[in-house]
Amino acid sequence: MAILEVSDLKQYFYLEPTFLARLVGGKKPRVIKAVDGMSFSMEPGEILGLAGESGCGKSTCCLAIAKLREPTGGIIRYKESDIAEMSKKEIRNYRSEVQLIFQDPYESLNPRYTAFDLVAEPLRALTDKSKAEIKERVNETITLAGLTPDEYKNRYPHQMSGGERQRVGIAQALVLEPKLVIADEPLSMLDVSIRAGILDLIRDLSEQMNFSCIYVSHDLSILSNISERLMIMYLGRIMELGVTKEVITDPHHPYARALIAAVPIPDPAYKRPIPNIRGEVAQPIDPPPGCRFQTRCLQVMDVCRDTEPPLKDVKPGHAVACHLY
């Protein structure tokens, strides 16, 4: 049974025109289609990578899945139940099973709480464990995150380094033993030399505690290292989805091809090829009909301008949304 099934997820933001604009020109409300029809599913225990540039909708999609924002359309099913139709009790349960790891270790921790209180907070908010039980569980989780409880429990965020704060954030997410963890670019604000440690931590704990993980990042080098399957998004839609190794070595979608070719390699002898793409990153405001990528694709055809290509398999387990296939 798939642990998560997202069908045709849509998140639109409406920009109300100003009073003057309405008076003068009768402007229609503009729409930002941040997520426009995402569909995918996840199996228990897998690490699914979500790649894309800024503005492609990956963070928005995470907020919708974590039930921190109401989607405009589509259905999100967690363990076969629709999360939009949950009672208050079921929502509490959902929160204890679906957790987030945030990108910014400096902003995602309340500066007035000690590390102990931060990790204990989810337990205090969602369970009625006793003081002793909480203490035990918190110490356990802090150790799992790679920190010694006695040393850190009375420290405030400003007394910890970026890596340590991120570990506390991870402990916060894992203290409730969730089944699905959404990691939103957890490494991008950390120093390079400590990223590997945090990445390994997430990978090892995912195996140890058997949780599924949606790993969101714009860095394909990291995603190639940690994720089993990979989704590439552009302007709110999935362009390609498949087993990571396959998508990286044999990308089909023109956007995926350009993106992967553009990934820099830490080697001075390597000459990065000029990507086969034109134009600037488009804004998801009032998008034209048809394929989202039409304005930048070098292989655009007429059909691309009127109909949106569906996401369909080109090989078993490897799907592409492109009229070329």
Binding site: A66, L68, R92, R95, S96, Q99, L100, F102, D104, E107, S108, L109, N110, P111, R112, Y113, E121, P122, A125, L126, G169, Q172, A173, L176
Partner: protein
């Protein structure tokens, strides 16, 4: 809250107040008045309303400060020192109670307005705007005229007005905190709305709250003094403002400088002290103000 954390809280506040020259001065004055207020019945040499006679047996009316009557006497022969001591107690109490109640009202309105936004914010802030428009003294006059001269009506009237500034300020700070990512994180970890408001947002605006508590007490004292001076106070519970009222209606304001001086000085000192304490908090709330 755990017991250790309450103790820690007071220790931290003590640290904040005393780190600043003004804060120390302010705290010392408040402490002094507080002690006087507490021990009033025991340290006052005479009763509040006793007309006294001097060593010669004459009614001691309008005597300037002397050894026998250190702060002088009133037109009715009452010892001003004793009056001051009892009035300190009443003024202190009114100020403290009004100040605390008004900050509780203001802070809650500000927090809820900021957190919920939308219609709730609109309604609460429009209500605050209306209260901003209400003039304090006429409101107090109407209230007293309707219900009578009682210390509790004074307190209620003060509370009804003084909360408005703190509501606005708390709201804007709370709005800023609300945008920060750790609030979203708290929601994702399962915290209920109330838990987020009181457990996550409020601790982050604590310096501001304490600053405005101090301010509110100061405004309450000032407001009370003004109202009492105009005669709108409880005749049985004497305050510094009340003493000035008594002076005024006795017609001796030109001659009895002592009767005028002590209450006025105390009002100034008290309000200044409270503002100085706010200044110490302001430096915490806005570290750039710290003197290098």
């Amino acid at each position: 809250m755990k017991l250790e954390s309450i103790k820690d809280f007071f220790v931290t506040q003590y640290g904040i107040i005393t780190s600043n020259r003004f804060g120390i001065f302010g705290a010392a004055i408040i402490l002094f008045f507080g002690v006087v207020a507490l021990l009033a019945p025991w340290i006052a040499p005479h009763e509040l309303w006793d007309s006294l006679r001097d060593s010669n047996g004459k009614l001691a009316m309008l005597r300037p400060p002397s050894l026998e009557f250190p702060l002088g006497t009133t037109a009715m022969g009452r010892d001003i020192l004793s009056q001051m001591i009892f009035a300190t107690r009443t003024t202190f109490l009114i100020g403290l109670v009004s100040g605390l109640i008004s900050i509780v009202i203001g802070a809650n309105i500000g927090l809820f307005s900021a957190f919920y936004g939308g219609k709730v914010d609109e309604i609460l802030m429009r209500f605050t705007d209306i209260v901003y428009g209400m003039p304090f003294l006429p409101f107090l006059i109407v209230l007293i005229s309707l219900f009578g001269r009682n210390i509790w009506f004074v307190i209620i009237a003060i509370c009804c007005i003084v909360w408005r500034t703190s509501a606005r300020v708390v709201r804007s700070q709370a709005l800023a905190i609300r945008q920060r990512q750790f609030i979203l994180a708290a929601k994702s970890r399962g915290c209920s709305n109330l838990r987020i408001i009181y457990g996550h947002i409020m601790p982050n605006i604590l310096p501001l709250l304490l600053l405005y508590t101090s301010f509110n007490i100061a405004w309450s004292v000032l407001a009370e003094a003004g109202a009492s001076f105009l005669g709108f106070s409880d005749p049985d519970n004497l305050t510094w403002g009340g003493m000035l009222y008594n002076l005024w209606i006795s017609g001796k304001i030109r001659t009895a400088w002592w009767w005028f001086a002590w209450p006025s000085i105390c009002i100034i000192l008290m309000v200044s002290a409270l503002v100085f304490i706010s200044r110490a908090y302001e430096e915490v709330a806005n570290p750039r103000l710290k003197q290098r």
